[in-house]
């Protein structure tokens, strides 16, 4: 079984004792139709790309920090590109997912301010839509990816493949039969690397 349910993977696996350090980070997109001109490249404000901020901004806040300073604000950058239909997609933002509704509905406004600062002619563009989604995130930069075959062979804790050794063996045999093996070292993506 491959669980590829993004931020919902945690709640799917928790009942069977698999606890993943995956959270959700909300991000918005604004679509605008430029009055004139175009963008030749994928354009990004360099200041947005600061690794420490990008890692910290999705962490779940402490109760003390929320009590002191309120809900965490969205980190907003300017990331622009021309879409095939002639509109421009304006991103980007990132905010911990803590409530069902957007924690900060003014984020599209902040994004447009950042986008217009980067490309001033966007001020004359018509806003056609905006939406948000949830990125699966974790405390590190690498994704979370289990190696079923190795675990099924019992080289690690028998969490995938079940506790039945025969079943784990059959799972591994099936994967081998299909020639399935990682095309790269899967160790950095171990879903259990966050365990204490």
């Amino acid at each position: 079984v491959i669980v590829a349910a993004g931020p919902w993977s945690t709640s799917l696996l928790d009942p069977i004792g698999i606890r993943l350090a995956i959270t959700g980070a909300r991000g918005w997109i604004v679509r605008v139709r430029p009055a004139s001109g175009t963008l030749r490249h994928m354009v990004e404000h360099a200041g947005w790309r600061v690794a420490p901020e990008r890692l910290a901004d999705v962490a779940r806040p402490s109760a003390g920090s929320v009590a002191e300073a309120g809900m965490p604000e969205a980190v907003v950058g300017a990331v622009l590109h021309l879409h095939a239909d002639g509109t421009v997609l304006v991103g980007s933002s990132r905010q911990p997912w803590l409530t069902p509704e957007p924690e900060e509905p003014s984020v599209p406004q902040q994004m447009l301010r950042a986008g217009i600062r980067l490309a001033p002619s966007l001020a004359d563009a018509t806003v056609t839509s905006t939406w948000w989604g949830l990125r699966p995130m974790n405390a590190g930069r690498a994704s979370v990816r289990g190696n079923g075959a190795r675990r099924a062979r019992g080289r690690d804790r028998p969490r995938i493949g079940g506790r039945d050794p025969g079943r784990r063996h059959r799972t591994a045999r099936n994967l081998d039969r299909h020639g399935w093996s990682p095309a790269f070292d899967a160790a950095p993506f171990d879903p259990f690397r966050f365990a204490g």
Binding site: R40, G91, L118, H178
Partner: protein, 194 residues
């Protein structure tokens, strides 16, 4: 019983279904909403090499698959065939050192980087603010439609099945199938909390 059951119809689940079915495994893809209902259908649609070196090899292997899928898909899938260029822009002097993480990562991955002064920057991308002080043009970057790509991957996985059939409420084949649990609107799904 399929060899592999995949829970989640985003681009990761669809790509797993595609690769496993290509390897001959029987696969059932399970999605409670619709394909690409979550982040896979809502992101901006950029393909650039990630800063984390652990992800580089996987990313490089992914792009040819995306291009192949887009070319053979039964629905329109927009993706740049060639990189359009990823332009990092420093709007003030403070942005210059802040860009180093991205530039060093790109350089380590062998991405060609063209430094640009303010005049060159405006020539390369006239829409950029006249206040910008510097830029770097990275020879990478494909724009794509992530939702269409996700659906195309799932359909390509299903096409690889030697036989196909349907059961009530879902489309499924003997080798590769897609099960989609309907009844949850996109908004309903997005509002759910993990």
């Amino acid at each position: 019983v399929p060899d592999v059951a995949i829970v989640g119809g985003g681009i990761i689940g669809a790509a797993c279904a595609y690769e496993l079915s290509r390897a001959g495994a029987s696969v059932t893809l399970i999605e409670r909403d619709e394909l690409a209902a979550g982040a896979s259908g809502r992101n901006q649609g950029w393909f650039v090499l990630p800063e984390d070196p652990a992800l580089e090899r996987m990313a490089r292997a992914t792009l040819p698959t995306y291009l192949e899928i887009a070319a053979s898909a039964t629905l329109p899938v927009w993706i740049d065939r060639e990189p359009v260029g990823h332009l990092l822009v420093a709007l003030d002097d403070e942005d210059v050192p802040r860009s180093q993480v991205a530039l060093e990562a790109a350089e380590a991955q062998g991405v060609r980087i063209r430094p640009l002064d303010a005049a060159e920057l405006r020539e390369v991308e006239p829409a950029v603010s006249p206040d910008a002080v510097a830029g770097w043009l990275l020879d990478q970057g494909h724009r794509l439609d992530p939702a269409a790509l996700t659906v195309a991957l799932a359909l390509a996985a299903k096409r690889r099945a030697p036989t196909s059939g349907t059961t009530s409420g879902c489309a499924r084949s003997s080798t590769t199938g897609t099960r989609s649990a309907r009844g949850h609107g996109r908004r309903t799904r997005a509002r759910r909390h993990p």
